[in-house]
Symmetry: C2
Subunit: 571 residues, 2 copies
């Protein structure tokens, strides 16, 4: 039987609670939102004791289904002030599922000056004094923890950014290669973790049988077989991803005038720069240098989108160098060199930072005169300032909007305080609608319409409806705990969505169909919007400059009216 660990950081108590009936068929984003709505008031301080840090797998977490190793980490975001669920790969979700953890709910804050590790296994959670680890960043920290505890432990941790409650701070998750290289990056969940005095959570590698039981394992395997066919058949998840990772997107995104260049002032990047950021280039270099592409961040995933980036001497630099990082820390800062971006990615993972809000923040800082676009040394020096905690470092650590406000920059590419992703919303209007309206702030994973078959990317026609549909679907996937890439196939053929619902039925013994499954997304978004509205957060729009400055490749501006954006949600 699954259970909930409820941890009180102030009293250092842990309760093992039965899963309330209402929560049994929720997971991931849906469960986090439900708990936050049930247990908190919208007006709470995101860095105060009333906020919660909730860690939970999705509904299919821990099953043999491919790509269901996402771990959701959420609460109220100090960056967006909205509810937030940020998920990552790595090995933690499966370890928690195996010992029966439905969720870990972390309440309250440790007393001032106190810092703890939580050591988790099926029997309970132990508080361990963590003062000796304060000031250490994620790579060194995870090495120390793997030495002190079992080296196969899954670890969630924060670097100095989270300790200092910087609003772009991530929670890092250890990957199959043992590195803390997977990030629940968006919305400052690392700051929430830091506000609680929690430096890391260490999960003992589970032994013995998994706590995950199937109502009908045969039916599950049958449905899974169909689903896997879908994943393998999808042109992106089945082919491009394993070969090139998400960096496969650099070339097509550039071709369609969607690549952010120099703080979204252009989508024309010099061809050498595009080449040196592209998945093709990275794959070639990694092959020559002895790095890896086609790495799986969690056991059993058949997509293998990740990579291990090595330098010219074959020495490890970073892992999981992703498209968004290449776009935001790369072309968006005028930097056309994957070797530089890989270094920035490492620093972000180590310090514990969202590469997207930081890349956008460096771009804004460059526009504000802190350095020239393309000045890689300056970009790395800015990251070092975040690490060192200088005044400007703290400002950048708080994300792109913080930088823009500090420097008086007009063109700040954020919505609800959060940086948008690496797709120019003028040239990809459907995704722009998602940026503008997502209740969690600008977020591409909540509903990216890149490549949507029936939409012209620079035409707004149909985008409100399409954004609503994809936001519901993605919210559902983030509740099931399945990777966004594996979910692509559900758009190819309805039978793959049916297969997912069939797996839920076969797992739980309850009756699931696609409608019920998508209902997870609908209800969760509805609750999140209500929570926002109670705080007076109701403005859905993109920064003005996207609406007035044409993209220099497509000539398009973002032209959805307030009313069209309002029409996205029927509630």
């Amino acid at each position: 039987m699954a259970f909930i660990f409820r941890v009180n950081m102030e009293n250092k108590t842990v309760k093992k609670e039965a899963v309330p009936k209402a929560y049994a068929s929720l997971g991931g984003r849906a469960l986090i939102t439900r708990i936050m709505v049930d247990e908190t008031k919208p007006d709470i301080d995101a860095l105060g004791k009333e906020n919660k840090l909730i860690i939970c797998p999705g509904l299919l977490g821990g099953t043999i289904c491919t790509s269901t190793g996402r771990i959701s980490i959420g609460g109220k975001s100090p960056l967006t002030q909205t509810l937030k669920e940020s998920n990552a790969g790595g090995i933690v979700s499966q370890q928690l599922c195996r010992i029966g953890v439905k969720a870990i709910i972390i309440d309250d804050c440790a007393k001032k000056g106190e810092w703890y590790l939580l050591k988790v296994n099926a029997d309970g959670i132990e508080f361990i004094d963590a003062l000796e680890y304060v000031g250490k960043n994620n790579y060194e920290l995870s090495e120390l923890l793997k030495k002190r505890f079992d080296p196969k432990s899954g670890i969630l941790s924060i670097g100095v950014a989270g300790e200092r409650c910087y609003k772009a701070a991530s929670v890092q998750v250890t990957s199959t290669n043992g590195y803390p290289s997977r990030a629940a990056a968006r919305g400052g969940m690392g700051a929430v973790m830091g506000s609680k005095g929690l430096k890391a959570i260490v999960i003992d590698p589970p032994t013995g049988f998994s706590a995950v039981t199937y109502a009908n394992k045969e039916a599950f395997l049958a449905a899974h077989k169909v689903f896997v066919e879908g994943v393998r058949a999808n042109p992106n998840s089945g082919v491009g991803m394993p070969n090139l990772g998400t960096a496969v997107l650099v070339n097509p995104v550039n071709m369609f005038g969607m690549l952010p260049v120099n703080n979204y002032s252009s989508s024309k990047f010099d061809s050498d720069g595009v080449k040196k950021l592209s998945g093709e280039y990275i794959a070639e270099k990694m092959a020559a240098r002895g790095g890896r592409v086609g790495h799986a961040c969690n056991p059993g995933c058949i997509i293998h989108c990740s990579n291990e980036y090595v330098d010219e001497n074959g020495k490890y630099v970073t892992s999981g160098l992703e498209y968004e990082t290449l776009a935001l820390c790369g072309s968006n800062c005028g930097i056309g060199d994957a070797d530089i971006v890989a270094k920035m990615d490492y620093m972000c993972d180590d310090i514990g930072l969202d590469t997207m809000d930081i890349g956008a923040g460096i771009g804004v800082a460059m526009e504000g005169g802190k350095a020239s676009f393309g000045d890689a040394e300056a970009a790395i020096a800015m990251l070092q300032e975040v690490n060192d905690g200088t005044e400007f470092g703290a400002i950048l650590g708080n994300g792109a909007e913080s930088v823009g406000k500090h420097l008086g920059v007009k063109r700040i590419p954020t919505v609800k305080g959060q940086a948008i992703a690496g797709y120019d919303p003028r040239s990809l209007k459907g995704t722009g609608v998602t940026y503008a309206t997502c209740p969690q702030g600008a977020d591409h994973t909540s509903g990216n319409l890149l490549g949507a078959a029936n939409l012209n990317p620079i035409d707004k026609t149909g985008t409100p409806e399409a954004s609503f549909g994809i936001q519901v679907a993605m919210c559902t996937m983030d509740s099931i705990g399945i990777c966004i890439f594996a979910s692509f196939c559900t758009a190819d053929d309805p039978k793959y969505a049916v297969a997912l619902a069939d797996m839920l039925t076969a797992l739980t013994g309850e009756s699931w169909d696609v409608d019920r499954m998508m209902g997870l997304g609908v209800e969760t978004i509805r609750l999140e919007l209500e929570y926002n509205r109670a705080m007076g957060i109701s403005k859905d729009k993109l920064p003005d400059f996207f609406c007035t400055e044409p993209n220099d490749v497509t000539g398009a501006v973002f032209d959805l009216t307030d009313e069209e954006l309002k029409s996205v949600f029927p509630f």
Copy 2:
């Protein structure tokens, strides 16, 4: 006939426009709000070309009525994002009225890198290149301008804070003593002026007859006689103010547990500190040192609330050392010495900063560990950082909320981004209601209930109604252009309000009564609330700590519910 100067900073054009009929019976705050509603969209960038800087006297400006020399400066505030009217004394209002200026509306922004002076007289406005003055603060600047132009010119100007668009930047106004010591300080109007590339406005001293004409001068004089009786009879404006200035409040405010001490963590200040901030002490010292109390900031004012503060050698330090500065830069920072606060006041006037948001910001910085409470050297060093434009200086220049967010301080005494005044809202709940609900952000002058006869300051009973009444009255007074202190008497006896309305009738030849007069306030507040709501600004509350931490003198917390706060405005 009065007229409007409309200035376009980008094109360097000036139009002299007739006053539209709808604006004829508006002035000050009412006129600014009306123009902003008519000519701008709520969502504009407060530091962008769509915002306006509007400068206008009140309805009774330029008349012989006492204390009507307030100059209103407004637009959309970069600090609060709301509409904002900030008014100051000094000699500018009367000079503008005398040449017939109903309002100066400043549109657009000068081209990047360009800076201008505007030289104003009845014939028109001349653009004068101001590059040579960039980087100069208000005291040096006004000396240079008085040398270059007529030394009796009235001047509105900004220091480096406004040039850099710091959100706590003031517009300084020259006083009767020639110093730029009167501040339209709240809401960052200096930043708006800076965003327009406008360094100063210089008004040629008017010659010849005044453009102000009376429909019935005899009736005006008769009504004025009644009103003056009221001003003289009021125990505060008639007696305490001329002798001690607003610093007269230090002792009673301290006695009633309303004094902010150490970032509102206490209202107990050491008795020596209270003494050395008090009006009585300042008056005694100024008498001994050869300073002045009982100075009038604008010609003809019978209240004389101001002072000229000199040091031990009799050398000028600052003028207009006010209660709010003594409270916010003094006890709120743990500093109990008027000599220090006078120096801080001078620096704020010179750099062009709101002493309230800056004092509150230094208090927050001290709470955040930047320095100890009471560390006067550190406080002055922080102000110097604002002047020097260091990273932290820019943060402090953006006000208390900016400092609190940067340092992760929980207790930030702001509402809608603006620092509250020097009255603890737990011990003066009526004023707390005004802080929470005023559409322009926390502002005591928009409705201070200190000393309200029928209210128990620590009991919430009746405060929503009382706050509404005083907010309407103060908005009306800020539209008439009469000093808040002169308006006190209208609460003593209805005949004084009647006298004010009678003066409006006698001036304009239209029929005014008290209802029509107060209607200015009602309609203006209604428009401001609408403007806010269109931007999604509707949250009216005080920072949580006032609701949870009892004041240590009175034991009171701020206990008005959301519903009670919502009930303040009937629209």
